[in-house]
C-alpha cells in the first residue's frame, strides 16, 4: 500500500555535471518496493513547481545488518524539479509517495535475463538485478550512454554478478554506437532453445527498437515507459499509453496503474509520444 513520507535526504552524490544519486530515508516506502515500481516526489512544499514527478526507485538501501533504511533515485538535471533534486543537501526533505505501479516480473532459471538500458533508463535495473541475483538468474546488462562518463554504477552491477555489455555514442567505452548493436549481435548468437527474457528502459525509440529486435528472435520484452504524469494514482488520466491486447483495437491506458512496466509487444509504438 502506497505511503507518503516526508523523507530526509541522506546523501546527494553528483555523478557528473547533470546526473546525481539522491538517497532518501524512506524505509517504509523502500521496504515495500518491487523492481520497476516508482515513487512520486516533490522537493519543497511550495506551489511552484506544483506537481510531483515520477521516478523509478533506483536502489533499496540497507544498513550493515541488511535492514532497509531507504531508497535512492537516479536523477538527471533537465527541468525545474530535477534541478532542485540535483541541488539538495543532506538534511533537506523530499515528499516521497509510493511504491506505485506494476513491477517487472522477476524471471527465474533456467530463463536468463537481459536488461537493456539507455541513459537515465538505468534507473529500474539496480533493484531488478538484485532481485534476479536472489533467484540465481543469469543476468546481462546492455547499457548505452553518450560517453564513458555517462555510464554509472558498473561496479555495483558486477558485484551482483551481472555481465556488462556497454555502448557509447562517442565510442569512449564499449561498442561505438547504440546499445542495440551489441544486443542485436547477442540475440543472433544466442541459443534459440534457451529461454530468455528481455527488459528495456530508456528513450522511447530505443525501447521500440529493442522490443522489435527481441520479437524478431522470438523473445518477449518488458518495457518501463516514462510518461508525463500528474498524480501517479489513476486520478488524472494524463499518463496514458496506447496499448493493443489480443489483437483488438488500441486503447489508451494509464501507465501509472497498468504500467509503468508493459509487455512491449502490446504497446502501439507508432502512436506513442516520446
Amino acid at each position: 500500500m502506497p505511503l507518503d513520507v516526508d523523507a530526509v535526504v541522506v546523501s546527494n552524490t553528483h555523478l557528473t555535471r547533470d546526473y546525481n544519486v539522491l538517497a532518501l530515508a524512506a524505509a517504509a516506502v523502500a521496504s515495500q518496493t518491487q523492481p520497476g515500481q516508482f515513487v512520486m516526489v516533490k522537493p519543497g512544499g511550495g506551489d511552484d513547481p506544483l506537481l510531483r514527478r515520477p521516478f523509478s526507485v533506483f536502489e533499496v538501501l540497507r544498513d550493515d545488518a541488511r535492514q532497509v533504511t531507504g531508497l535512492s533515485l537516479l536523477n538527471k538535471r533537465v527541468g525545474v524539479t530535477t534541478r532542485m533534486l540535483f541541488a539538495l543537501k543532506p538534511g533537506d526533505r523530499v515528499r516521497c509517495l509510493g511504491p506505485l505501479g506494476r513491477p517487472f516480473s522477476v524471471t527465474e532459471p533456467p530463463e536468463r535475463a537481459w536488461m537493456v538500458a539507455g541513459g537515465v533508463g538505468l534507473a529500474p535495473f539496480a533493484t531488478l538485478a538484485a532481485a534476479l541475483r536472489e533467484r540465481d538468474t543469469e543476468t546481462t546488462l546492455f547499457y548505452g550512454g553518450r560517453s564513458a562518463n555517462d555510464l554509472f554504477h558498473l561496479d555495483e552491477f558486477r558485484q551482483l554478478g551481472v555481465r556488462l555489455e556497454l555502448a557509447t555514442d562517442d565510442g569512449s567505452r564499449g561498442e561505438h554506437g547504440n546499445v542495440t548493436v551489441p544486443l542485436a549481435r547477442a540475440l543472433g548468437d544466442a541459443d534459440r532453445a534457451a529461454p530468455l527474457r528481455v527488459y528495456a528502459c530508456g528513450p522511447t525509440p530505443m525501447m521500440r527498437a529493442v522490443t522489435q529486435l527481441a520479437a524478431a528472435h522470438g523473445r518477449t520484452t518488458e518495457v518501463s515507459l516514462e510518461q508525463v504524469m500528474g498524480c501517479g494514482l489513476g486520478g488524472c488520466y494524463s499518463c496514458v499509453v496506447p496499448v493493443r491486447r489480443d489483437g483488438g483495437p488500441a486503447h489508451l491506458v494509464r501507465s501509472c496503474l497498468d504500467g509503468p512496466v508493459f509487455d512491449g509487444s502490446t504497446v502501439v509504438w507508432e502512436q506513442l509520444v516520446s
Binding site: 500500500m1 507518503d4 506544483l50 506537481l51 508525463v228 489513476g234 499518463c239
Partner: protein
C-alpha cells in the same frame, strides 16, 4: 466542542463541505485503498458520456506557474459501465457520489441523467457544460445562456436527483449563467471549471499540449475563482459549490466566506492524495476558534462594511 461540518446542497446532505473534484479523482475507486471515501463530503466522479471515449492523445498535461494545463478530452468508460462496475464499489465504501454528466447533444445529457436516475447510490448529478477541451458539448453549451438553460432544463425533466450545473469561467458575466441555470431548475451550481489557456515550447514552436489549448487549474486561478463565487452569491439564491486551486483549509474558507456552501478540491489531490484529513482538521480548528457551532454559519459572511475609523481632531 463538537462542531457541525455538515452542509446541504439542494437537498443532498454532506458530512462536510469537501468534495473530490470531477476529473481529478478518477472514478473514486482508484483512491479507495488510500482514503476512507466515507470521510469525504462527496466524490464527484470523472465526467461520463453515454458511450466510452478515448480522449485526446498525450501530451495531456503541462505544468505552468503555480498551476497546470490539462486537455484530457474526457476519456471515460460511459455511463452504463460506470453504473455496473464502479457505482457498487463506491456505495460499498459509503461514499456520497456526485456524477458529472456530459453530452455532445442535449438529448445525450438527458439520456445519461435518465440512466443515472434509475441507479442506486447517485447523490446528485453535476452537469458538465464547461469542459474547455472537447469539440462538441461541454463549454459550447456553457458559454451560451440559452444553451445553459436548455441543457439544465432537459436534465431537470428526467431526474429526481439534485441538478448541479458546473459553470465555466470563460464568460464575461458568470453570475448571469448561474441565474440561467436557476431559471431552468438547477438545485445548485458549481464553479469554476478550468480557464481556457495554452503553453508553447519556444524551441520547437509547438504547443505543449496535443490539443493545443487546455484548461488551467491550481493555485494560479484561485483569486479569480473566489471572485466569481462571490459574484454568483450576490446574484442568485442557490447553493454554490466553489472550486479553483484550493490547497488548504484556509483556501477553502475563502470560497465559503465568499458564498460557497461546499467546495471541490482537484489539483491539490494530485499533489497530496492524503489532503482530506488536513482540510478537515484545519476547518474544524477554524470553526472552533471562531466560536461557531455550524460551518454553514460561515457561508457568504464576507464583511464589506467600511473599515475606516472616523477621526476628527478636536
Amino acid at each position: 466542542m463538537n462542531v457541525d461540518l455538515s452542509v446541504d446542497i439542494g437537498g443532498l446532505r454532506l458530512r462536510n463541505p469537501f468534495i473530490a473534484a470531477s476529473g481529478c479523482f478518477g472514478y473514486g475507486v482508484e483512491y479507495a485503498d488510500l482514503v476512507d471515501l466515507s470521510t469525504l463530503g462527496a466524490v464527484a466522479v470523472k465526467g461520463l458520456f453515454l458511450e466510452e471515449r478515448e480522449g485526446h492523445p498525450p501530451t495531456r498535461i503541462v505544468e505552468t506557474p503555480s498551476g497546470m494545463l490539462n486537455a484530457i478530452g474526457l476519456q471515460g468508460i460511459g455511463v452504463r459501465r460506470f453504473v455496473a462496475e464502479k457505482l457498487p464499489l463506491l456505495r460499498a465504501q459509503g461514499a456520497v457520489v456526485i456524477v458529472n454528466i456530459c453530452g455532445s447533444t442535449i438529448d445525450e445529457y438527458a439520456e445519461v441523467a435518465r440512466i443515472l436516475d434509475d441507479a442506486d447510490g447517485v447523490g446528485a448529478v453535476e452537469v458538465n457544460i464547461s469542459c474547455p477541451n472537447i469539440k462538441k458539448g461541454g463549454m459550447m453549451f456553457g458559454c451560451s445562456l440559452q444553451g445553459t438553460h436548455d441543457v439544465v432544463a432537459a436534465v431537470r425533466r428526467v431526474t429526481r436527483r439534485p441538478v448541479v450545473p458546473k459553470l465555466t469561467p470563460n464568460v464575461t458575466d458568470v453570475a448571469s449563467f448561474a441565474a440561467a441555470a436557476r431559471d431552468a431548475g438547477a438545485d445548485a451550481v458549481s464553479l469554476v471549471n478550468t480557464f481556457l489557456a495554452m503553453a508553447i515550447d519556444v524551441e520547437t514552436r509547438r504547443p505543449k499540449l496535443s490539443n493545443v489549448v487546455g484548461g488551467l487549474s491550481g493555485p494560479a486561478i484561485r483569486p479569480i475563482a473566489v471572485r466569481m463565487v462571490y459574484e454568483c452569491r450576490q446574484a442568485v439564491d442557490l447553493p454554490i459549490i466553489g472550486m479553483g486551486g484550493i490547497m488548504t483549509a484556509g483556501d477553502a474558507l475563502e470560497f465559503i466566506i465568499a458564498g460557497a456552501t461546499a467546495v471541490q478540491v482537484g489539483t491539490a489531490n494530485f499533489v497530496d492524495p492524503f489532503i482530506w484529513n488536513k482540510l478537515l482538521t484545519g476547518l474544524t480548528d477554524y470553526v472552533q476558534r471562531h466560536g461557531l457551532a455550524h460551518v454553514s454559519d460561515l457561508v457568504g459572511t464576507l464583511d464589506t462594511t467600511d473599515r475606516t475609523t472616523a477621526w476628527t481632531s478636536s
